[in-house]
Symmetry: C2
Subunit: 356 residues, 2 copies
């Protein structure tokens, strides 16, 4: 079927195979078939999360778990690392949960650096720190291992990491880095439809959660753990999306996790090469650029909206014209999901064809 | 494709047509196509909700909105009408949100009656009342219009109604009854896969929500309203399920809403007739029985688990063997979704065939 193909940074193109898996007939979510499905995907999810901890499935978008992490873990004060639309919003969400929150803000397009985190945490009073690994709105990839090393200097501060748009495109070793909550969503690098969030919680974070009284129910980490012991979820799960996830894990482990990471790096380099060759600049600094999407500065002052319109009409592709206040000032190209060097080459040729 | 067909009270059988709709290629959730989809389903959702208010789409199961209603609306104290597993749990969830909550408890299988609600609310101090219209765990249908009339005597008490397993099987006139929050899920009477909750909020409830500070973000009613003005959702929506919902609304309005209600009443009567003819008794009292499922008392003391096993193996049908503490003491048959008198007759014949 011919359709508009998305190269925006999520949702992205969903394969026919994934859709077929989604059409598996319904099963009861408290029965043996569901438990088998849940159990089947656990080992591979743990590998991708780099953890020995269970991986929970939340029937929500990632924001639900991002809010849940605050409700479950912040008692004293949360520090929010902020470098774009989504990480900025996490600060706002923290306050809306009635929590004391402080901003560690850099300019959109700049990265959160380890020494900034150290300086801020040294002021004391914090018990949680949130970081978006790959800030999707401006293509910034924060230096996760280096920041994780700083966090280990502050053993009372739990480290909450959103890797929605980087998950499965590069290695993120949750346990090794000492990450306390690692969370992602279904509709970005996993190339599933939206509606499912995945997350894992360290043992010490789970202990902290147990000590908090008004953490609620729907995103209660302790409920997730309790149900997980029986290979179930607290509330009715998005069964179709979990079948799709199972199918996608088959894809990922057939390709090989390392091969997948290499593919994403190569596709990203392919886009970068095009960006430079056309005289465009990158929005994020060298060494701090996302591997799964590219945020390009509109330094050539082109009319991005009409370019995207032409691209869509002539080639049935869509890229993103800039998020929020960056609209028209940047554009973003995703290389997430099932793309190949051929499909990215086709996109880039189409971009050339429609760029005036 | 041959598969096990579910006659449990949710999730239930999903049609091929619905699955096809779910496989519509991805679209961006902040673009014109999504807005068109969202706008397209609004008028029909309003009709089904019996409201002039917008109908919000939450990427969650119904529990998310059930918790959200408490967080958004309870300031003083919530009264929870409790007559089964799910309504009992709402009391627990209310407390977990750090709210003052009181139980209006009847035996499982009995109904919440208007005079009980009046007596309790007359004690004063409440600002919210929760009711599950159709308590799925034990097949009780509470007298909604009569209870709504009582609620109108207490103008400071907001009326929160879960109609997850009754929605679209009978008329529920939200505005006329003065319901402040009406909520449902996708995987029961709507015969969609789980992962989507639908709800509407009265104007006065929205005002109350605006006055509460720590209501959070993910289930924040005010955020839903703000995004709805642009035909969008606060967080990334479950796009595939919304396509499925659109397809299901086509089904419902092609059949006709009244015809659909009549069909469900007739199918329910067909099951009831079988129950009585076989010498079984109903778990809920006359006049208080659900129209979308039947909870049957195991007065004949049969081995329900092995019966269901035979039914499954020989006929590829599944009914439910009792929820929680009612396991083995009751069984439940759903007549939700796309069933016809023929398909229900086939099920009942299979039940006869395997009943020893």
């Amino acid at each position: 079927m011919s359709h508009i193909k998305l190269f925006i940074p999520g949702p992205i193109e969903v394969s026919e195979k994934t859709f077929r898996a989604m059409c598996t007939p319904m099963i009861g979510h408290r029965g043996s078939e569901f438990k088998k499905l849940y159990g089947d995907i656990q080992p591979r999810l743990k590998t991708l999360f780099g953890t020995q901890r269970p991986v929970f499935l939340s029937t929500s978008s990632a924001w639900g778990v991002m809010e849940g992490a605050i409700r479950n873990l912040t008692i004293k004060k949360v520090l929010n690392g902020m470098c774009g639309a989504f990480s900025d919003k996490w600060f706002d969400v923290s306050k809306r949960c009635g929590k004391d929150a402080e901003a560690l803000q850099v300019e959109w397009g700049q990265s959160i650096e380890p020494e900034m985190v150290r300086a801020k945490l040294s002021e004391g009073g914090f018990d949680t720190f949130t970081l978006i690994h790959n800030e999707t709105s401006c293509g910034v990839r924060n230096p996760l291992p280096e920041i994780a090393a700083v966090l280990r200097e502050f053993p009372d501060v739990l480290f909450i990491v959103d890797c929605v748009s980087s998950f499965s495109t590069q290695s993120i070793a949750m346990d090794e880095l000492g990450i306390d909550v690692l969370l992602t969503g279904s509709q970005k690098a996993l190339a599933l439809p939206p509606g499912l969030a995945l997350f894992a919680v360290s043992e010490r974070a789970m202990k902290r959660a147990e000590s908090i009284k008004d953490r609620g129910y729907y995103f209660d980490f302790v409920e997730f753990a309790k149900n997980q012991e029986q290979d179930m979820t607290p509330s009715t799960p998005a069964i179709s999306l979990i079948y799709a996830l199972q199918s996608k894990l088959d894809d990922i482990f057939t390709e090989g996790v390392d091969a997948r990471h290499s593919r994403h790096a190569a596709l990203n380099a392919q886009v970068h090469e095009w960006v430079s060759a056309r005289g465009f600049e990158f929005f994020a600094p060298e060494g701090r650029r996302s591997l799964s999407l590219t945020c390009v500065k509109n330094n050539l002052d082109i009319d991005i909206a009409s370019w995207i319109k032409r691209l869509r009409e002539k080639h049935s592709f869509v890229i993103d014209g800039g998020y929020g206040k960056l609209k028209g000032k940047t554009f973003r190209i995703s290389n997430m999901g099932d793309e190949s060097s051929e499909s990215i080459a086709t996109l880039l040729a189409a971009l050339d064809d429609t760029l005036e």
